[in-house]
Symmetry: C2
Subunit: 240 residues, 2 copies
Protein backbone atom coordinates (compact mmCIF):
# COMPACT_ATOMS: atom_id res chain seq x y z
CA UNK A 1 0.00 0.00 0.00
CA UNK A 2 3.00 2.35 0.20
CA UNK A 3 3.89 4.84 -2.49
CA UNK A 4 7.50 5.23 -3.74
CA UNK A 5 8.22 8.94 -3.32
CA UNK A 6 11.22 10.68 -4.84
CA UNK A 7 10.57 14.32 -3.97
CA UNK A 8 8.08 16.45 -2.05
CA UNK A 9 8.37 20.21 -2.43
CA UNK A 10 6.51 23.49 -2.61
CA UNK A 11 4.47 25.54 -2.54
CA UNK A 12 5.59 26.83 -5.89
CA UNK A 13 3.90 27.48 -9.21
CA UNK A 14 3.03 24.81 -11.73
CA UNK A 15 5.25 25.92 -14.60
CA UNK A 16 3.49 24.19 -17.48
CA UNK A 17 0.34 22.74 -18.98
CA UNK A 18 -3.35 23.13 -18.19
CA UNK A 19 -2.99 24.82 -14.80
CA UNK A 20 0.15 26.80 -15.58
CA UNK A 21 0.82 29.32 -12.84
CA UNK A 22 -1.26 27.42 -10.24
CA UNK A 23 0.06 27.57 -6.68
CA UNK A 24 0.72 23.95 -5.85
CA UNK A 25 2.75 21.41 -3.92
CA UNK A 26 4.57 18.64 -5.79
CA UNK A 27 4.83 14.94 -5.01
CA UNK A 28 7.11 13.13 -7.43
CA UNK A 29 6.80 9.36 -7.53
CA UNK A 30 9.55 6.98 -8.62
CA UNK A 31 9.34 4.52 -11.49
CA UNK A 32 8.39 4.75 -15.15
CA UNK A 33 7.36 2.38 -17.95
CA UNK A 34 8.93 4.76 -20.47
CA UNK A 35 12.50 5.96 -20.96
CA UNK A 36 12.15 9.09 -23.08
CA UNK A 37 15.41 10.23 -24.64
CA UNK A 38 14.89 13.78 -23.41
CA UNK A 39 13.23 13.03 -20.06
CA UNK A 40 13.91 15.86 -17.61
CA UNK A 41 13.43 13.57 -14.61
CA UNK A 42 15.55 10.54 -15.49
CA UNK A 43 16.53 10.23 -11.85
CA UNK A 44 13.03 8.86 -11.20
CA UNK A 45 13.70 5.73 -13.25
CA UNK A 46 17.36 5.35 -14.20
CA UNK A 47 18.51 4.07 -10.81
CA UNK A 48 20.85 7.00 -10.20
CA UNK A 49 18.93 8.11 -7.12
CA UNK A 50 17.28 4.90 -6.03
CA UNK A 51 18.54 5.37 -2.48
CA UNK A 52 16.46 8.53 -2.23
CA UNK A 53 13.17 6.69 -2.81
CA UNK A 54 10.99 6.62 0.30
CA UNK A 55 8.15 4.11 0.57
CA UNK A 56 5.47 6.21 2.21
CA UNK A 57 1.91 5.66 3.42
CA UNK A 58 -0.64 8.19 2.11
CA UNK A 59 -0.98 9.76 5.58
CA UNK A 60 2.81 10.17 5.80
CA UNK A 61 2.80 11.98 2.46
CA UNK A 62 0.06 14.34 3.63
CA UNK A 63 2.06 15.02 6.80
CA UNK A 64 5.19 15.74 4.78
CA UNK A 65 3.23 18.08 2.50
CA UNK A 66 1.91 20.00 5.50
CA UNK A 67 5.31 20.16 7.11
CA UNK A 68 6.68 21.64 3.89
CA UNK A 69 3.75 23.83 2.84
CA UNK A 70 1.99 24.70 6.10
CA UNK A 71 -1.40 26.31 5.56
CA UNK A 72 -0.40 27.91 2.30
CA UNK A 73 -1.67 25.45 -0.28
CA UNK A 74 -4.93 24.05 -1.62
CA UNK A 75 -3.56 22.08 -4.56
CA UNK A 76 -1.16 19.15 -4.94
CA UNK A 77 0.42 17.97 -8.19
CA UNK A 78 1.45 14.32 -8.45
CA UNK A 79 4.13 13.80 -11.05
CA UNK A 80 6.74 11.18 -11.87
CA UNK A 81 8.03 9.09 -13.36
CA UNK A 82 4.65 7.72 -14.25
CA UNK A 83 2.35 7.82 -11.23
CA UNK A 84 -0.21 5.82 -13.23
CA UNK A 85 1.86 2.73 -12.45
CA UNK A 86 0.56 2.93 -8.89
CA UNK A 87 -2.75 1.07 -8.64
CA UNK A 88 -3.40 2.23 -5.11
CA UNK A 89 -2.79 5.95 -5.42
CA UNK A 90 -6.44 6.63 -4.59
CA UNK A 91 -5.69 6.44 -0.87
CA UNK A 92 -3.59 9.59 -1.18
CA UNK A 93 -6.09 11.30 -3.50
CA UNK A 94 -8.96 10.62 -1.08
CA UNK A 95 -7.00 11.93 1.90
CA UNK A 96 -6.15 15.17 0.07
CA UNK A 97 -9.75 15.64 -1.08
CA UNK A 98 -10.98 15.05 2.46
CA UNK A 99 -8.82 18.05 3.43
CA UNK A 100 -10.35 20.20 0.65
CA UNK A 101 -7.17 19.99 -1.41
CA UNK A 102 -7.39 19.62 -5.18
CA UNK A 103 -5.23 17.13 -7.00
CA UNK A 104 -3.49 17.37 -10.36
CA UNK A 105 -1.63 14.50 -11.97
CA UNK A 106 0.50 14.02 -15.04
CA UNK A 107 0.92 10.76 -16.93
CA UNK A 108 1.76 9.74 -20.49
CA UNK A 109 -1.46 7.80 -20.92
CA UNK A 110 0.11 4.36 -21.24
CA UNK A 111 -1.93 2.83 -18.39
CA UNK A 112 -5.49 3.27 -17.15
CA UNK A 113 -6.33 3.49 -13.47
CA UNK A 114 -9.83 3.75 -12.02
CA UNK A 115 -8.70 6.65 -9.82
CA UNK A 116 -8.09 8.82 -12.92
CA UNK A 117 -11.75 9.86 -12.57
CA UNK A 118 -10.99 11.41 -9.18
CA UNK A 119 -8.23 13.72 -10.39
CA UNK A 120 -9.20 17.39 -10.62
CA UNK A 121 -6.64 18.39 -13.27
CA UNK A 122 -5.39 15.39 -15.24
CA UNK A 123 -2.77 15.88 -17.93
CA UNK A 124 -2.24 13.11 -20.46
CA UNK A 125 1.07 13.65 -22.23
CA UNK A 126 1.56 11.03 -24.94
CA UNK A 127 5.13 11.11 -26.17
CA UNK A 128 6.05 12.18 -29.71
CA UNK A 129 8.60 10.41 -31.97
CA UNK A 130 11.62 12.35 -30.67
CA UNK A 131 11.18 10.61 -27.32
CA UNK A 132 11.97 7.23 -28.86
CA UNK A 133 8.71 5.87 -27.39
CA UNK A 134 5.71 4.41 -29.23
CA UNK A 135 2.17 5.43 -28.28
CA UNK A 136 -0.30 2.61 -27.65
CA UNK A 137 -3.33 4.29 -29.14
CA UNK A 138 -5.79 1.63 -28.06
CA UNK A 139 -4.89 2.37 -24.43
CA UNK A 140 -5.00 6.12 -24.99
CA UNK A 141 -8.37 5.85 -26.79
CA UNK A 142 -9.76 3.89 -23.87
CA UNK A 143 -8.48 6.42 -21.31
CA UNK A 144 -9.89 9.39 -23.19
CA UNK A 145 -13.26 7.73 -23.81
CA UNK A 146 -13.48 6.86 -20.12
CA UNK A 147 -12.56 10.38 -19.01
CA UNK A 148 -15.09 11.96 -21.35
CA UNK A 149 -17.83 10.20 -19.35
CA UNK A 150 -16.92 11.79 -16.06
CA UNK A 151 -18.81 14.76 -14.73
CA UNK A 152 -16.26 16.43 -12.48
CA UNK A 153 -12.73 17.61 -12.86
CA UNK A 154 -11.04 18.32 -16.15
CA UNK A 155 -8.36 16.74 -18.29
CA UNK A 156 -6.22 17.75 -21.21
CA UNK A 157 -3.61 16.49 -23.62
CA UNK A 158 -0.07 17.83 -23.72
CA UNK A 159 2.52 17.09 -26.38
CA UNK A 160 6.14 18.19 -26.07
CA UNK A 161 7.54 19.38 -29.40
CA UNK A 162 11.19 19.08 -30.35
CA UNK A 163 11.02 18.81 -34.15
CA UNK A 164 8.83 18.60 -37.25
CA UNK A 165 7.97 14.93 -36.72
CA UNK A 166 6.68 15.84 -33.28
CA UNK A 167 4.48 18.52 -34.83
CA UNK A 168 3.02 15.96 -37.24
CA UNK A 169 2.35 13.70 -34.26
CA UNK A 170 0.62 16.59 -32.48
CA UNK A 171 -1.60 17.07 -35.54
CA UNK A 172 -2.60 13.41 -35.39
CA UNK A 173 -3.44 13.75 -31.71
CA UNK A 174 -5.48 16.91 -32.35
CA UNK A 175 -7.41 15.23 -35.17
CA UNK A 176 -7.96 12.02 -33.20
CA UNK A 177 -9.23 13.82 -30.08
CA UNK A 178 -10.65 17.10 -31.39
CA UNK A 179 -12.80 17.67 -28.29
CA UNK A 180 -9.88 17.50 -25.86
CA UNK A 181 -7.91 20.62 -25.06
CA UNK A 182 -4.40 20.26 -26.47
CA UNK A 183 -1.32 21.96 -25.08
CA UNK A 184 1.89 22.06 -27.12
CA UNK A 185 4.99 22.55 -25.05
CA UNK A 186 8.42 23.59 -26.24
CA UNK A 187 10.90 20.80 -25.65
CA UNK A 188 13.84 21.64 -23.43
CA UNK A 189 16.89 20.24 -25.20
CA UNK A 190 19.42 21.68 -22.81
CA UNK A 191 18.95 19.93 -19.49
CA UNK A 192 22.50 20.50 -18.33
CA UNK A 193 23.20 24.18 -18.58
CA UNK A 194 23.33 26.33 -15.51
CA UNK A 195 24.24 29.43 -17.49
CA UNK A 196 20.96 31.31 -17.22
CA UNK A 197 22.17 34.22 -19.32
CA UNK A 198 22.55 31.86 -22.28
CA UNK A 199 19.59 29.62 -21.52
CA UNK A 200 16.85 32.23 -21.40
CA UNK A 201 17.24 33.90 -24.81
CA UNK A 202 17.79 30.49 -26.37
CA UNK A 203 14.61 29.08 -24.78
CA UNK A 204 12.57 32.10 -25.81
CA UNK A 205 13.82 31.83 -29.39
CA UNK A 206 12.74 28.19 -29.48
CA UNK A 207 9.36 29.12 -28.02
CA UNK A 208 8.90 31.79 -30.66
CA UNK A 209 9.87 29.33 -33.41
CA UNK A 210 7.24 26.87 -32.20
CA UNK A 211 4.64 29.66 -32.06
CA UNK A 212 5.50 30.59 -35.66
CA UNK A 213 5.11 27.01 -36.87
CA UNK A 214 1.78 26.57 -35.09
CA UNK A 215 0.34 29.92 -36.19
CA UNK A 216 0.78 29.04 -39.88
CA UNK A 217 -0.62 25.50 -39.39
CA UNK A 218 -4.28 25.13 -40.26
CA UNK A 219 -4.72 21.73 -38.59
CA UNK A 220 -3.40 22.97 -35.25
CA UNK A 221 -6.19 25.49 -34.90
CA UNK A 222 -7.49 25.02 -31.39
CA UNK A 223 -4.36 24.58 -29.37
CA UNK A 224 -2.39 26.31 -26.69
CA UNK A 225 1.36 26.80 -27.05
CA UNK A 226 3.32 27.16 -23.83
CA UNK A 227 6.84 27.09 -22.47
CA UNK A 228 7.97 25.67 -19.15
CA UNK A 229 7.75 28.87 -17.11
CA UNK A 230 9.78 27.42 -14.24
CA UNK A 231 12.81 27.08 -16.52
CA UNK A 232 12.60 30.81 -17.31
CA UNK A 233 12.64 31.50 -13.58
CA UNK A 234 14.96 28.87 -12.23
CA UNK A 235 16.67 27.20 -15.19
CA UNK A 236 17.14 23.47 -14.67
CA UNK A 237 17.23 23.71 -10.88
CA UNK A 238 15.29 21.02 -9.03
CA UNK A 239 12.87 21.39 -6.13
CA UNK A 240 11.46 24.78 -7.14
Amino acid sequence: MTIPVMEIFGPTIQGEGMVIGRKTMFVRTAGCDYSCSWCDSKFTWDGSEKDAIRKMEPAEIVDALKQEGGEHFGHVTISGGNPALLARLDGLIDLLHADGIKVALETQGSRWQEWFTKIDDLTLSPKPPSSGMKTNFSVLDFIIESLQLKQEGSFSLKVVIFDEDDLVYAQEIHQRYPQVELFLQVGNDDLETTDEKEFLPYSLRRYEQLIDRVMENDILKDVRVLPQLHTYLWGNKRGV
Copy 2:
Protein backbone atom coordinates in the same frame (compact mmCIF):
# COMPACT_ATOMS: atom_id res chain seq x y z
CA MET B 1 -24.83 49.06 -34.88
CA THR B 2 -21.19 49.54 -35.83
CA ILE B 3 -18.32 48.67 -33.55
CA PRO B 4 -15.38 51.06 -33.03
CA VAL B 5 -12.31 48.97 -33.86
CA MET B 6 -8.77 50.03 -33.07
CA GLU B 7 -6.76 46.97 -34.10
CA ILE B 8 -7.27 43.56 -35.69
CA PHE B 9 -4.32 41.18 -35.68
CA GLY B 10 -3.19 37.59 -35.42
CA PRO B 11 -3.11 34.70 -35.28
CA THR B 12 -0.80 34.87 -32.33
CA ILE B 13 -0.87 33.49 -28.80
CA GLN B 14 -2.90 34.92 -25.97
CA GLY B 15 -0.07 35.96 -23.67
CA GLU B 16 -1.95 36.13 -20.36
CA GLY B 17 -4.84 34.99 -18.21
CA MET B 18 -7.17 32.03 -18.31
CA VAL B 19 -6.36 30.83 -21.82
CA ILE B 20 -2.68 31.78 -21.80
CA GLY B 21 -0.94 30.29 -24.83
CA ARG B 22 -4.19 29.92 -26.83
CA LYS B 23 -3.85 30.47 -30.56
CA THR B 24 -6.15 33.40 -31.20
CA MET B 25 -6.96 36.46 -33.26
CA PHE B 26 -7.36 39.83 -31.55
CA VAL B 27 -9.99 42.52 -32.06
CA ARG B 28 -9.31 45.60 -29.98
CA THR B 29 -12.19 48.00 -29.52
CA ALA B 30 -11.84 51.72 -28.79
CA GLY B 31 -13.19 53.48 -25.73
CA CYS B 32 -12.99 52.94 -22.00
CA ASP B 33 -14.84 54.08 -18.89
CA TYR B 34 -11.61 53.76 -16.90
CA SER B 35 -8.27 55.51 -17.18
CA CYS B 36 -5.85 53.26 -15.29
CA SER B 37 -2.57 54.93 -14.45
CA TRP B 38 -0.58 52.00 -15.86
CA CYS B 39 -2.88 51.05 -18.76
CA ASP B 40 -0.85 49.40 -21.51
CA SER B 41 -3.38 50.40 -24.18
CA LYS B 42 -3.96 54.08 -23.46
CA PHE B 43 -4.18 54.71 -27.18
CA THR B 44 -7.66 53.10 -27.06
CA TRP B 45 -9.06 55.93 -24.94
CA ASP B 46 -6.68 58.90 -24.65
CA GLY B 47 -7.47 60.32 -28.09
CA SER B 48 -3.90 59.92 -29.34
CA GLU B 49 -4.98 57.53 -32.09
CA LYS B 50 -8.60 58.47 -32.57
CA ASP B 51 -8.08 58.77 -36.33
CA ALA B 52 -7.26 55.05 -36.44
CA ILE B 53 -10.69 54.03 -35.11
CA ARG B 54 -12.79 52.27 -37.75
CA LYS B 55 -16.55 51.97 -37.29
CA MET B 56 -17.16 48.45 -38.55
CA GLU B 57 -20.18 46.20 -39.04
CA PRO B 58 -19.84 42.72 -37.47
CA ALA B 59 -19.58 41.11 -40.94
CA GLU B 60 -16.78 43.51 -41.89
CA ILE B 61 -14.87 42.52 -38.76
CA VAL B 62 -15.25 38.82 -39.59
CA ASP B 63 -14.01 39.51 -43.13
CA ALA B 64 -11.02 41.43 -41.78
CA LEU B 65 -10.23 38.58 -39.37
CA LYS B 66 -10.31 36.06 -42.22
CA GLN B 67 -8.20 38.25 -44.44
CA GLU B 68 -5.61 38.47 -41.68
CA GLY B 69 -5.83 34.94 -40.27
CA GLY B 70 -7.01 32.83 -43.21
CA GLU B 71 -8.02 29.32 -42.16
CA HIS B 72 -5.58 29.21 -39.29
CA PHE B 73 -7.72 30.20 -36.35
CA GLY B 74 -10.67 28.96 -34.29
CA HIS B 75 -10.61 31.54 -31.52
CA VAL B 76 -11.02 35.31 -31.35
CA THR B 77 -10.21 37.52 -28.38
CA ILE B 78 -12.06 40.79 -28.01
CA SER B 79 -10.14 43.29 -25.94
CA GLY B 80 -10.11 47.03 -25.41
CA GLY B 81 -10.44 49.56 -24.02
CA ASN B 82 -13.56 48.15 -22.42
CA PRO B 83 -15.60 46.18 -24.96
CA ALA B 84 -18.39 45.90 -22.35
CA LEU B 85 -19.33 49.48 -23.24
CA LEU B 86 -20.74 48.11 -26.51
CA ALA B 87 -24.35 47.05 -25.98
CA ARG B 88 -24.62 45.47 -29.42
CA LEU B 89 -21.49 43.35 -29.52
CA ASP B 90 -23.63 40.21 -29.70
CA GLY B 91 -23.94 40.54 -33.48
CA LEU B 92 -20.21 39.89 -33.81
CA ILE B 93 -20.24 37.12 -31.20
CA ASP B 94 -23.11 35.34 -32.98
CA LEU B 95 -21.40 35.59 -36.38
CA LEU B 96 -18.20 34.09 -35.00
CA HIS B 97 -20.05 31.29 -33.22
CA ALA B 98 -21.96 30.52 -36.43
CA ASP B 99 -18.53 29.92 -38.01
CA GLY B 100 -17.51 27.56 -35.18
CA ILE B 101 -15.14 30.15 -33.76
CA LYS B 102 -14.85 30.55 -29.99
CA VAL B 103 -14.83 33.97 -28.41
CA ALA B 104 -12.86 35.31 -25.47
CA LEU B 105 -13.36 38.76 -24.00
CA GLU B 106 -11.68 40.86 -21.36
CA THR B 107 -13.37 43.58 -19.34
CA GLN B 108 -12.87 45.20 -15.94
CA GLY B 109 -16.35 44.26 -14.75
CA SER B 110 -17.69 47.80 -14.45
CA ARG B 111 -20.70 47.16 -16.73
CA TRP B 112 -23.01 44.22 -17.33
CA GLN B 113 -24.11 43.17 -20.80
CA GLU B 114 -26.57 40.35 -21.58
CA TRP B 115 -24.13 38.99 -24.16
CA PHE B 116 -21.59 38.16 -21.41
CA THR B 117 -23.38 34.81 -21.14
CA LYS B 118 -22.39 33.98 -24.74
CA ILE B 119 -18.64 34.46 -24.25
CA ASP B 120 -16.62 31.22 -24.13
CA ASP B 121 -13.68 32.58 -22.10
CA LEU B 122 -14.63 35.71 -20.18
CA THR B 123 -12.00 37.46 -18.09
CA LEU B 124 -13.15 39.97 -15.48
CA SER B 125 -10.22 42.10 -14.42
CA PRO B 126 -11.24 44.48 -11.65
CA LYS B 127 -8.54 47.09 -11.12
CA PRO B 128 -6.50 47.28 -7.91
CA PRO B 129 -5.64 50.51 -6.04
CA SER B 130 -2.46 51.22 -8.01
CA SER B 131 -4.62 51.85 -11.08
CA GLY B 132 -6.23 54.88 -9.44
CA MET B 133 -9.67 53.38 -10.15
CA LYS B 134 -12.38 52.39 -7.66
CA THR B 135 -14.22 49.09 -8.02
CA ASN B 136 -18.01 49.23 -7.95
CA PHE B 137 -18.57 46.00 -6.05
CA SER B 138 -22.33 46.01 -6.43
CA VAL B 139 -21.89 45.86 -10.22
CA LEU B 140 -19.16 43.22 -9.96
CA ASP B 141 -21.29 41.14 -7.55
CA PHE B 142 -24.18 41.27 -10.00
CA ILE B 143 -21.98 40.22 -12.94
CA ILE B 144 -20.46 37.31 -11.06
CA GLU B 145 -23.79 36.10 -9.70
CA SER B 146 -25.25 36.24 -13.19
CA LEU B 147 -22.33 34.38 -14.74
CA GLN B 148 -22.47 31.67 -12.10
CA LEU B 149 -25.94 30.75 -13.38
CA LYS B 150 -24.80 30.04 -16.92
CA GLN B 151 -24.19 26.50 -18.11
CA GLU B 152 -21.74 27.01 -20.93
CA GLY B 153 -18.43 28.76 -21.30
CA SER B 154 -16.18 29.73 -18.45
CA PHE B 155 -15.10 32.91 -16.75
CA SER B 156 -12.38 33.96 -14.36
CA LEU B 157 -11.06 36.88 -12.41
CA LYS B 158 -7.72 38.50 -13.07
CA VAL B 159 -5.99 41.08 -10.90
CA VAL B 160 -2.84 42.88 -11.97
CA ILE B 161 -0.41 43.33 -9.08
CA PHE B 162 2.01 46.23 -8.79
CA ASP B 163 2.41 46.60 -5.02
CA GLU B 164 1.38 45.42 -1.56
CA ASP B 165 -1.93 47.32 -1.62
CA ASP B 166 -2.80 45.49 -4.82
CA LEU B 167 -2.07 42.17 -3.11
CA VAL B 168 -4.44 43.09 -0.26
CA TYR B 169 -7.07 43.95 -2.89
CA ALA B 170 -6.49 40.55 -4.54
CA GLN B 171 -7.06 38.88 -1.16
CA GLU B 172 -10.38 40.71 -0.82
CA ILE B 173 -11.39 39.58 -4.30
CA HIS B 174 -10.40 35.96 -3.54
CA GLN B 175 -12.37 35.98 -0.29
CA ARG B 176 -15.40 37.66 -1.83
CA TYR B 177 -15.56 35.24 -4.80
CA PRO B 178 -13.91 32.05 -3.53
CA GLN B 179 -15.52 29.86 -6.21
CA VAL B 180 -14.13 31.88 -9.12
CA GLU B 181 -10.73 31.05 -10.52
CA LEU B 182 -8.37 33.94 -9.77
CA PHE B 183 -5.33 34.86 -11.84
CA LEU B 184 -2.72 37.24 -10.45
CA GLN B 185 -0.68 38.96 -13.09
CA VAL B 186 2.61 40.78 -12.66
CA GLY B 187 2.16 44.44 -13.48
CA ASN B 188 4.33 45.80 -16.26
CA ASP B 189 5.70 49.10 -14.98
CA ASP B 190 8.01 49.72 -17.89
CA LEU B 191 5.82 50.31 -20.92
CA GLU B 192 8.39 52.37 -22.75
CA THR B 193 11.54 50.35 -22.95
CA THR B 194 12.60 48.70 -26.16
CA ASP B 195 15.79 47.35 -24.62
CA GLU B 196 14.88 43.66 -24.44
CA LYS B 197 18.17 42.66 -22.82
CA GLU B 198 17.27 44.83 -19.82
CA PHE B 199 13.54 44.22 -19.86
CA LEU B 200 13.54 40.45 -19.66
CA PRO B 201 15.64 39.82 -16.54
CA TYR B 202 13.86 42.72 -14.85
CA SER B 203 10.42 41.28 -15.69
CA LEU B 204 11.41 37.81 -14.55
CA ARG B 205 12.72 39.18 -11.26
CA ARG B 206 9.41 40.94 -10.69
CA TYR B 207 7.51 37.76 -11.55
CA GLU B 208 9.62 35.78 -9.08
CA GLN B 209 9.03 38.42 -6.37
CA LEU B 210 5.27 38.13 -6.88
CA ILE B 211 5.48 34.35 -6.73
CA ASP B 212 7.41 34.59 -3.45
CA ARG B 213 4.80 36.88 -1.92
CA VAL B 214 1.91 34.67 -3.00
CA MET B 215 3.55 31.42 -1.90
CA GLU B 216 3.89 32.64 1.68
CA ASN B 217 0.34 34.05 1.74
CA ASP B 218 -2.24 31.76 3.32
CA ILE B 219 -5.27 33.66 2.04
CA LEU B 220 -4.12 33.48 -1.58
CA LYS B 221 -4.25 29.70 -1.61
CA ASP B 222 -6.12 28.81 -4.78
CA VAL B 223 -4.71 31.20 -7.29
CA ARG B 224 -2.64 31.20 -10.44
CA VAL B 225 0.30 33.58 -10.82
CA LEU B 226 1.26 34.44 -14.37
CA PRO B 227 3.32 36.92 -16.34
CA GLN B 228 2.44 38.45 -19.69
CA LEU B 229 4.19 35.91 -21.91
CA HIS B 230 4.00 38.14 -24.98
CA THR B 231 6.21 40.72 -23.28
CA TYR B 232 8.90 38.03 -22.78
CA LEU B 233 8.74 37.29 -26.49
CA TRP B 234 8.14 40.68 -28.01
CA GLY B 235 8.67 43.30 -25.30
CA ASN B 236 6.24 46.18 -25.60
CA LYS B 237 5.74 45.78 -29.35
CA ARG B 238 2.15 46.13 -30.57
CA GLY B 239 0.23 43.90 -32.99
CA VAL B 240 1.89 40.61 -32.01
